[in-house]
Symmetry: C2
Subunit: 338 residues, 2 copies
DNA sequence: TTGAAAGCGGTACCAC
DNA sequence: GTGGTACCGCTTTCAA
């Protein structure tokens, strides 16, 4: 059996309460008493029981990171993995533990398990990696009394706190960049149209904005939907090159699809970037090592994760007045692929 | 305030005990009573309080996935991310939650925080992603009374349960493969030599074994150490090509370093795979999309994760007699790079 | 089959 | 500054 507070109290010849005091508000305890108690704690190797503490304090110093996954997922998402790792770091910096949970979209009662984590008081708050979160669940989420922040998606109308990046601007910058390099027929490989989600949508918006600014028309068939996976990028490229007028540039909505496109282009015998420019989105670690090195849009993942945890902790603390969202800047990273 | 069991009891006109019974061993409850209680539960939206339950039952149905990271880490490890995701899936399948925690190697008291999770009864068990775990901590771990399983590293002498793969055989297969393709000067880019760790070591062993079987000598300077990161693979390759007799094949201990090597080789003007064959290890999702597509060694990550969770759950349940380790097969995946 | 009471290991609130 | 006591919400005896 593990050592309890009561045993420490006995060992130090004080009451349980006093031990509790040295553990928490140790200011109230006389130095000599505290010293004695601490010695016994050390000696017995006492550690407070987490469950008992949570029960009494009714919070757990535990946050959840919820991945909302489309099913079937083409493959694990390296970007999500990165975000998650960043959140983990941010959480630990704030002395909280992190529970990882994946919600499978379309699973019966998908959100119930998240809600249960709250009602069971298992977690104090959750950050939702929500790029694929359909708009209609936002209403449900907003109606909850539980602290939740959305990451990787905006949600201005829902009133939910969120952290996003300037996706549209990023894609726009990519379009303008390739246009500046002399490309005229610029296609776009986007995220899944179904269910409609904001992450995919804002990238698409950025594409259209960029095209407009460059005075380019969006040709028939130049917008193709992928599923964020490598293979879908390859498929999209093949589809584009069956068009009567294939593009001379492809702007992809993430790095994975960009790599897939690169791959398929090569299989078609295209010289890169001569025959086709390709840009990605996300700047995954491998991007700079590809051939050609991928021109892409950097997302400030670390900062976003930190901001999300910060916002979440505010919400947990019940600070209503504070900032409820952050939109961080993206940055075009020019390499060889475009 | 959340709904409590007592309120359910009142609502159903029974004692708290009876409610508890329908929640747990519902066999003991008369069907009609159970139905009534369940109705009230449903109606009130009752969920049992996690802390109270853990306190009473003295287990948490929570597992931890501990990443043991060298510091500084060159970049987030996509392989670790994959493993972690797989463990998460395996844990959820076993109806356990997963806490993610990163131990920074060299941090003062690195292991104390893990031990604290146990003594505070925060978790029931932990799987350690232990490929970079130095040998000397194994002794400490083995002395603990807490359920722990090592993933991605063997540890036969410690008595700790572990799940590993046939790393040496995988590398050996890669060496034999490139030799079969006519390569004679085969170099090896391995993991960090310091601190000495088994994952790196067994890959190196496999290299030597493979060379021996092929009747090849390991030339001076043909074994270079990386740190698992992309950049280190690139640096290793450059270093190899400063040798009087550069290799005509490079076997890398992971895919990231292989990609780095590919990149550096191209920068040197080498034609791939004509001038240089490169193999990786791990078969990350991007491997098949590289140019040239990466010949690599597949690791059964899903199976390993499942096995690890299984072993851990056995250990938690105190099943001493059961299997304490698993070594899963690797598989050479031949593509274009070698 | 059900209920009463004790207690898991802490913390809050009250006296002293 | 310190100790007594109730109680967080649930499960486990033990009786009824």
């Amino acid at each position: 059996m593990a050592v309890t507070l009561k045993q420490v109290a006995e060992g130090a010849g004080v009451s349980p309460q006093t031990v509790s005091n040295v553990l928490n508000k140790s200011l109230l305890v006389k130095p000599s008493t505290r010293a004695r108690v601490e010695e016994v704690i050390e000696q017995l190797g006492y550690e407070p029981n987490f469950a008992a503490r949570s029960l009494r304090r009714s919070h757990t110093r535990t946050l959840a990171c919820i991945l909302y996954q489309r099913t079937p997922e083409p493959e694990p998402d390296p970007y999500a993995a990165l975000v998650q790792a960043s959140i983990s770091t941010a959480a630990r910096a704030a002395k909280h533990d992190l529970l990882i949970h994946t919600l499978l979209s379309g699973e019966p009662g998908e959100l119930r398990v998240l809600e249960a984590m709250f009602t069971q008081r298992r977690i104090d708050g959750a950050v939702l990696l929500a790029s694929d979160l359909p708009d209609d669940v936002l209403g449900l989420l907003a109606a909850w009394p539980h602290p939740v922040v959305l990451l990787d998606r905006d949600a201005p109308e829902s009133g939910l706190p969120y952290v996003a990046a300037t996706y549209a601007e990023g894609v726009r910058a990519a379009v303008r960049h390739v246009h500046g390099r002399g490309r005229q027929r610029i296609a776009f490989v986007g995220g899944p149209p179904q269910p409609l989600n904001r992450g995919a949508q804002s990238r698409l918006t950025g594409y259209h904005a960029g095209m407009r600014e460059c005075g380019l028309d969006v040709e028939e068939g130049y917008v193709v939907a992928g599923d964020w996976g490598y293979a879908s990028g390859a498929a999209a490229l093949r589809q584009l090159f069956e068009l009567p007028e294939p593009p001379d540039a492809v702007v992809a909505a993430n790095d994975r699809m960009a790599l897939g496109a690169l791959h398929a282009a090569r299989a078609l015998g295209l010289r890169l970037p001569h025959d086709l420019a390709v840009t990605g989105f996300g700047d995954l670690d491998f991007a700079r090592y590809l051939h050609p090195a991928l021109t892409t849009v950097d997302l400030p993942v670390q900062d976003m994760a930190r901001a999300a945890v910060q916002l979440l902790l505010n919400a947990v603390a019940g600070e209503v007045k504070s900032v409820t969202h952050r939109v961080l800047p993206t940055r075009l990273v020019v390499r060889q692929s475009a």
